[in-house]
Every structure is written in structure tokens, then in C-alpha cells.
Assembly symmetry: C2
Homo-oligomer: 140 residues x 2
């Protein structure tokens, strides 16, 4: 199960993408639109800023904006950033301490195959793919 952090982060990124060109977006706006506590979103934003996915500006007229073009983000990198890993088992994590059974673990190839499939799936999806499939939002 994906945690709220990963799911909310994705929704934040989509929200920012949908309001691109509107300058900096205050977090309160996103919180209102997405119906998520602003306080909690702060935690998620911190990670997104730290990783360079978005940039924040303080003060009046401040807020957040995407630091790249919408089609230059993959869903995979967003999820992996927030979840820590997309691996289905600990043995497959980057920093996994090799367990004694690794050599002839009969289930490892299964997990590996699923892991590869998962990464291909999420890294193959661009942020823009999620938005383009929807009807455009018009601002009057």
C-alpha cells in the first residue's frame, strides 16, 4: 500500500502542473483544493523542495512552483522519493544487507521481476500523462 505521503505528493504535483503559469501557488490554496491539512502538506513539500522537484518562495506573493517542465517529471521519481523505495521486499532495496538466503532464495526472482515491472510502470508515466488524459480546465 502506498502511504499518504506518496499519494498526496502526486496530487500536489498535479495541482501545481494544472496551475502552471499562475506564478507561485501558496500552500493554503493547494490544501483547500485538495482537502488536505496544510500542516501535513508542509512536511511533504519540504521533501519535494529538498529534492529539487519544486521551488518555494517566501513572503507575500510567494508559494511553490514546479522547477521543471511538466513532461520532465516521472510518476516513479515522485513516488520513490516519498516512499523511500518501490521495492516489494527489503532484500531488493539499494542499501539492503544481503541476507544469508539470497544465494538460493527461491522467491527472489519473483520479487525481482515484480520490482522491475513496477519501476518500468511508474517511471514510464510522466506527470503530463496524468493531466493530458483529462479535459482541460478553463480559467475565465
Amino acid at each position: 500500500m502506498f502511504s499518504t505521503k506518496g499519494r498526496y505528493a502526486l496530487r500536489i504535483m498535479i495541482d501545481l502542473a494544472q496551475h502552471e503559469g499562475a506564478g507561485n501557488i501558496p500552500l493554503q490554496k493547494i490544501a483547500d483544493r485538495q482537502e488536505i491539512s496544510k500542516k501535513y502538506l508542509e512536511i511533504i513539500m519540504k521533501d519535494l523542495v529538498k529534492a529539487g522537484l519544486v521551488s518555494g518562495a517566501s513572503g507575500r506573493g510567494g508559494g511553490y512552483r514546479l522547477s521543471r517542465k511538466v513532461d520532465e517529471y516521472t510518476v516513479g521519481e515522485i513516488l520513490e522519493l516519498m516512499e523511500g523505495t518501490l521495492a516489494p521486499v527489503a532484500c531488493l532495496e539499494d542499501d539492503a544487507s544481503t541476507c544469508s538466503r539470497t544465494e538460493d532464495c527461491i522467491t527472489l526472482p519473483l520479487w525481482k521481476e515484480y520490482y522491475d515491472m513496477t519501476r518500468e510502470f511508474f517511471y514510464g508515466k510522466k506527470l503530463s500523462d496524468l493531466i493530458e488524459s483529462r479535459d482541460p480546465i478553463y480559467y475565465i
Copy 2:
């Protein structure tokens, strides 16, 4: 991340499959071979028995055995039984109470597609597939 329950259950089923024809397998044997506490395996076995995947026999000469042929189990049903669901988000669970955003949730199709892919993957793998790919084990 899959929990130990799901992963251990799979290893138990593989162990039983590999020792098919040897009558009932006492849980202590499996615990020793898999290096997992017998006490903990009892919990998992209870679920497997309850679901009818294996059958247990008490008393001397007792133990557990598969209730079907090895190629009549899918990895998916074993994992889903132990994990409760394979859904990546709660909204997709069978008993999910529809949330207010379901109608125009922009991320739902993504989760749905991943969920479908996951189920196809694991239900497409038979227990026998995991074993046949390995060198046979010889008993002297």
C-alpha cells in the same frame, strides 16, 4: 512492501510442494528448513488451513500437506490471502467505502492500472512455476 506473513506463506507453500509425496510434514521441519520460528508459522498455517489451501493432521505422523496439486495454486491467491489485498490504495479494495473524490480523482486510473497489472502478474504465476525453474532436489 509485502509483509512477512505473505512472504513466509509463499515459502511454506513452496516447501510443502518440494516435499510432496513425503506424507504429512510437521511444522517443526518447515520451521527448521526455513529458519523461521515455529510459533509464528502456526499463525500463518492457521490462515492457510482455514482457506483450504493446506490440510493439517494432528497426532503422531501428523503435519501439513497441500490439498491440491502444485500447479493448481497461484501465487496471487496465496499473497492476497495473507496480505488481505493486493490493492496499492485503499480506494480500490473490494469493501472500499467510496470517497467523495472518486468521481473525478485524477490519480485513480493510475492506481487502477497498476492494480490490474499486479493481479495479472501474481495470478499468472503458479506455485509450480516457482519450483520448476530450479534444479530438482534429490533425496538419497
